[in-house]
């Protein structure tokens, strides 16, 4: 605790806080231009200059921690002059194009120029011709850039791509792609979000609307389980639109939250339909006669409640693979840990200084986790150990140690981890004997994880204080998921690791907490709800009855943070919904959100009405979105059992993983996101599978024949190829993510 004064008022700072943090907390205004809460200070604008009594000159509030007893002056005539002069400098040669600039109305430069009353330019610099750059989804206009460095900071410190660099050269300075001619990055678009001026703009949005005509709909992203907060910006769809509206862009509260490119650019997956009474009658009949409903986890908790009610009323079964896997994992985990929910969330991950990640290709599975991890690595110097059969080039800036294990041996890997991480603890006798019984030689040999690697890992973590173990969906879908879950819980119980599980789809966790799910026996007479079936009710093309897509619904989802997050209607939908079908079958509720307050409290939900849920970050960064699930204690009694014989995967193995920015059938139909569904493999995979670059192959996947073009990828190693599944419909992924397949060449 540091006691000091701002403008004579006594205030206190925590360790690590700067003057601006304290000032903002105390509602004392200090102008800034380059400050952004979630990165280290850029310290490029000097607008935050303040005086310290008794000290000559100015100090920067954004990167100076206060010292005991000082008195900081935030407002004086000298400061005013200094700041006005800075604004004058910014305005030198700045194009007079607010009239057309997309940033106009929400531009920091515009606001501050008016605030400091800079009405004219008293001197000039020789202007340079500056080319507007088109970087795919992003356009960059160097003449608008004020070189605040926010974009480079966020790209490096939060995203982890480190794709942008500053080229210094006086009035010729600009932002350039790092070590490359064109921007080659994961296109999260966060640089667009943080840019205080109109220099970086979404190329799709540019010049299509003005900031003041867009109405903002606070919502939750539906593409992955990170459940990021976003705002849909909606306007009439154009002069010819006859009253129809469309989403123009997605924005986020970049000060405290981060979005990936799928959330930012993949927003136009809405469905449109009119009330088709015939199809509706058929749907009601199909559901009433169905044996089961198969559905994907891209639904709200409320829709899940309706499905549960239908299950109870009509006695049908509910099929949902990924949520069932989640249930198996969490139940087994809880039987050892005694708590229903895993312990960590993205905030604890951000604050960790030691991270182990097993069984996920995180950069594309859940970018939110990746960003939290990058932040931890940059800001706390976190050591990140990534364990997976495949290396990921996207994590090369973040990961400190890559541990490769053999495909399918996750159970062995977790057993080895348990042995390594649990030391000198009061284990019960049964647990101790389990640990002792582990055959390290066998496990090491089969998993291919060496003793030295585990030792290195341990050494890295020696000085770490806050540790997180991240468990990915490879494990959730593993045959031995239950025993792995028990091992995970054991590690959590007897080491200082917290556990974070990455649910595989947007609302897998929510769905898994609401109702028991059945084993999908692929029987006939199944109604598909946003999934395959004999009668399909879906927001995707080719449905027998069209229902609203996720951005046309209100309801809640449960994110990886175990937070119940509300989402709102961005675009209207004229047709029928699941609730209409339920009403026709005698499960009554006026609105779908009537179910919000009825969510099962035994799973940690609270009896809160939908309309009472907030959905924003406060000025001071407090996350007020929805609520966090209550802790639920459950009966213990589970013990890890003997590790089963570890499987071997030989031949041509593929790994179901989507390319950057693609997640599912909804992202697949958005116009901005690239639809790259090629099969990517390394040269050694090509040799093993006897495929050549550009060759088309077919193979059977999840019961259906898939055709893919094989592409050689230099950045990949090993003999496993990456197989995208996003364009194959929803909830089709077969159980374990690695598979041996038989390729059929297409005759040329």
């Amino acid at each position: 605790m540091i006691n000091f004064k701002i403008n004579g008022t006594p205030v206190t700072a925590e360790r690590g806080e700067t003057i601006i943090n304290v000032a903002r907390r105390e509602d004392i205004y200090i102008p800034t231009m380059c400050y952004i809460e979630k990165t280290s200070p850029c310290a490029s604008c000097r607008l935050c200059s303040v005086e310290v009594e008794g000290l000559d000159g100015f100090v920067l509030a954004c990167n100076t921690p206060p010292t005991e007893g000082i008195n900081v002056i935030t407002d004086s005539e000298v400061l005013e002059t200094e700041r006005t002069n800075i604004m004058r400098m910014y305005d030198v040669n700045h194009p007079l194009e607010c009239g057309v600039c997309d940033k106009s109305g929400e531009c920091d430069l515009q606001n501050k120029t008016l605030e400091f009353n800079v009405g004219q330019q008293q001197f000039a610099a020789k202007d340079q011709p500056r080319k507007i750059e088109n970087w795919g989804l992003i356009n960059y206009d160097p003449s608008l850039c004020i070189l605040c460095e926010k974009c480079t900071h966020v790209c490096n410190e939060v995203i982890g791509d480190d794709a942008l660099d500053l080229l210094f050269g006086g009035y010729n300075s600009k932002v350039i792609p790092k070590n490359s001619d064109v921007l080659d990055c994961t296109f999260c678009g966060e640089c667009i979000a943080v840019c205080p001026v109109g220099a970086l703009i979404s190329s799709d949005f540019q010049y299509s609307a003005n900031s003041w005509e867009l109405s903002k709909v606070p919502a939750t992203c539906a593409h992955c389980s990170a459940g990021c907060a976003l705002e849909y910006e909606v306007k009439h769809a154009g002069v010819e639109a006859q009253g129809a509206e469309s989403i123009y862009r997605v924005k986020n509260n970049f000060e405290y939250a981060t979005l990936c490119g799928a959330g930012r650019f993949g927003f136009d997956y809405d469905n449109s339909a009119t009330k088709d009474d015939e199809a509706f009658a058929k749907a009601v009949e199909a559901v009433s006669k169905a044996k089961a409903i198969r559905f994907s986890s891209m639904i709200t908790n409320e829709e899940m409640m309706i499905l549960k009610a239908l299950k109870e009323k009509l006695g049908l079964k509910l099929f949902n693979r990924d949520a069932r896997h989640m249930q198996l994992f969490m139940d087994a985990y809880a039987s050892v840990s005694g708590t229903k929910h895993y312990s960590a969330d993205l905030e604890t991950l951000k604050e960790s200084d030691a991270i182990i990640m097993v069984g996920t290709r995180i950069a594309t599975d859940n970018p939110g986790v990746r960003y939290a991890m990058t932040t931890a690595a940059r800001h706390n110097g976190a050591k990140v150990v990534y364990m997976h059969p495949l290396e990921d080039a996207l994590l090369q800036n973040t990961v400190t140690q890559f541990v490769k294990y053999e495909v399918g041996t996750e159970e062995g890997v977790l057993a080895l981890l348990a042995q390594t991480l649990i030391v000198d603890q009061e284990l019960t006798q049964r647990e101790q004997s389990f640990i002792d019984s582990l055959d390290e030689g066998y496990l090491s040999a089969e998993t291919n994880v060496g003793d030295d690697e585990l030792e290195l890992m341990k050494k890295q973590f020696l000085r770490s204080k806050s540790k997180t173990l991240v468990i990915g969906s490879d494990i959730l879908a593993h045959e031995r998921v239950e025993n792995i879950a028990r091992l995970v819980a054991l590690i959590e119980k007897y080491s200082d690791f917290n556990v974070l599980v990455v649910p595989s789809e947007a609302n897998t966790l929510g769905v898994s907490l609401i109702a028991d799910l059945d084993i999908d026996d692929h029987s006939e007479n199944v109604v598909g709800y946003n999934a395959k079936g004999n009668f399909v009710i879906s927001a995707l093309e080719g449905a027998d009855l069209a229902v609203p897509a996720f951005n046309q619904q209100e309801g809640t989802v449960v994110s990886i943070d175990k937070r119940v997050l509300p989402t709102n209607v961005a675009l209207g939908f004229e047709g029928y919904t699941l609730n209409d079908i339920a009403n026709a079958l005698g499960v009554h509720a006026q609105n779908t959100v009537d179910y919000t307050s009825r969510l099962p409290q035994e799973s940690g939900f609270k009896a809160v009405d939908f309309d009472d849920l907030e959905n924003f970050y406060s000025d001071k960064g407090v996350d007020t979105r929805g609520y966090v699930l209550d802790d639920v204690t459950v009966k213990r009694g589970g013990y890890p059992e003997e590790v089963a014989e570890l499987p071997e995967f030989n031949g041509a193995v593929i790994y179901h993983a989507n390319p950057v920015l693609q997640f599912n059938a909804f992202t697949a139909q958005t116009k901005q996101l690239e639809n790259d569904n090629n099969l990517y493999g390394s040269a050694s995979f090509a040799a093993a599978a006897r495929l050549s670059d550009g060759e088309a192959v077919t193979f059977v996947y999840a019961g259906e024949t898939v055709r893919r073009v094989f592409k050689l990828d230099e950045t990949l190693k090993g003999t496993v190829a990456l197989h995208p599944t996003f364009d194959l419909g929803l909830n089709v992924r077969s159980d374990y993510r690695f598979e041996t397949v038989n390729f059929k060449r297409e005759s040329k």
């Binding site: 040669n93 009239g99 057309v100 004219q120 330019q121 008293q122 001197f123 000039a124 020789k126 202007d127 507007i132 088109n134 356009n139 206009d141 190329s203 540019q206 010049y207 299509s208 609307a209 003005n210 003041w212 005509e213 009439h236 154009g238 002069v239 010819e240």
Partner: protein, 205 residues
């Protein structure tokens, strides 16, 4: 009248006098007498004679609308026109959307997009004349003097909603090139001797 006199509010000695108004007749017969006296006064025939005289002279001043139309004043606010720049003929509208925003009856709607030169262009622009109240705000706010009110005041339509499109309002290209677009003195107009008045600005070297 001098300003002094004009400002003098003292009405007691400035030649004002009260009009002598007869008392209102009380009795029925008095009322009758007054009606008769007023009816048969000669003034009636004076008026009739003027009409008769003009009729015989055939010097008629009635405008034969719609065959004949009077010119309207330069500041008249009728259907909008979209201007081009003199000489270059470039469309003046930059698509800033201010007219759309300020429009009090919400009758302007426009679509803009980015063109191949990375510039903002207006792809659609309509005004619903059925709702426009011809207040002139749009012309007032326009930073480019692009939208102005023209003299076309005929708006009859079979439909309540009656639109005019960008192309209908846009000044024909050759008119702009030939300098045939009228400019009027006053706010927003090109000032006289513009060429001499342009100085090197900080952005010119």
């Amino acid at each position: 009248m001098s300003l002094e006199q004009f400002k003098n509010r003292d009405v007691s000695d400035s030649g004002y006098y009260l009009v002598d108004i007869d008392a209102y007749p009380e009795k029925g017969f008095d009322k009758f007498k007054r009606i008769v006296a007023r009816t048969f006064r000669g003034e009636l025939f004076v008026g009739l004679w003027v009409v008769m005289r003009e009729m015989i002279k055939f010097d008629i001043h009635t405008v034969q609308y719609p065959k004949e139309k009077l010119p309207v004043g330069p500041r008249y606010r009728a259907v909008h026109e979209m201007q081009r720049l003199w000489e270059s003929g470039t469309e003046r509208c930059i698509g800033c959307g201010l007219c759309e925003k300020i429009c009090i009856s919400d009758c302007i709607r426009m679509d803009t997009k980015i063109d191949e030169n990375n510039r903002k262009v207006v792809s659609e622009y309509t005004i619903n004349l059925g709702r426009c109240i011809f207040c002139g705000y749009c012309a007032e706010v326009c930073p480019e003097l692009a939208i102005v009110h023209g003299g076309r005041y005929e708006n009859t339509s079979e439909q309540r909603a009656h639109y005019t499109d960008y192309q209908d309002m846009l000044t024909p290209f050759d008119m702009a090139l030939n300098g045939q677009v009228p400019e009027y003195p006053g706010f927003g107009a090109v000032t006289p001797h513009e060429d001499e008045r342009v100085k090197s600005t900080p952005l010119a070297y």
